[in-house]
Amino acid sequence: MKSDFDLKNWPETIERIHKTPAGRALDVKLVTEADLLRLKAIARLHARGLPQPVDWSDLLQEAFTRVLEGSRRQPAGVPVVAFLAEVMRSIKEQYWRQCRRGARQLPKLLAELGVLDFQEGELTDPAPSPERRAIAIEQVKAINRLFEDDLQAKQIISALCEGSTPEETCATYAMSRTDYDSTRKRIRRAMIRAGLRSPEL
């Protein structure tokens, strides 16, 4: 079977590892390939809020592990992709809680993480942390750089940070609802693209 990149060009020092937890979930048809791409983009989004030792793949695989092992149970009526996305978000929050306790090493963190109740869509107010604040400022700038020439996108991003509703955003920036909706679609497309981009091998 052909691939879309040439594995022969991998450096000899790198060895492929098969069958990650996400790969096993695909095998048992818990998710589809499109689901995995969506979750990859969401994992990359959440990983923007974490320091370097933890990357998007760690978040993604840990979420799949918890679901496959049953330590996180999917509530009835919640789609599996939405559930996995929420598990990733909660893992991120747990990471920061652990950091505040001084446990900064990921292996230790992963061994100690407990089980939280599923609370879909709940956004907790992050506790003040100089490191987290620095990452937040840098990453909002990085996201804005994706829309260098798109003023309306930058306005909407600013409004989303403020927690403004679409109506408030349109009023603040004298933007029509049509412009708002089309700009949100541009933002979504750009963020999916950023989330699916290929690493430089």
């Binding site: 492929r16 969401i42 989004l45 809020g49 370097q52 793949s57 840990e62 592990t65 996201i143 981009r197």
Partner: protein, 93 residues
């Protein structure tokens, strides 16, 4: 507008963008992958690097990383010894 603490504002932004991604159709996701030259249906597609398969450094110096257990249960295994390819940092665009 009020001034929001950066970390709270950032979390609000991530939550909104995450919801957008959940709302996107499969067709849109696959279309973006296609634009990037990725073919996720193909075996070993780069689109699924770090997702269905990962990587690690061979012959790592002793103590530099833990050996990876293939098919181990989680990121604690796949993530610890895996190395991120150049340019694949989560903070980059």
């Amino acid at each position: 507008m009020t001034t929001t603490r950066p970390e709270l504002g950032f979390e609000r932004l991530l939550a909104a963008l995450g919801r957008d991604m959940l709302d996107a159709s499969d067709e849109e996701i696959l279309a973006v992958a296609n634009e990037l030259g990725q073919k996720p249906g193909m075996k070993g597609s780069i689109a699924l690097l770090g997702v269905t398969f990962a990587w690690r450094l061979k012959d790592q110096p002793k103590g530099s990383a833990r050996p990876t257990k293939e098919a181990s249960s989680g990121a604690g295994a796949t993530g610890r010894s895996r190395r991120r390819p150049k340019g694949d940092a989560p903070s980059s665009d």
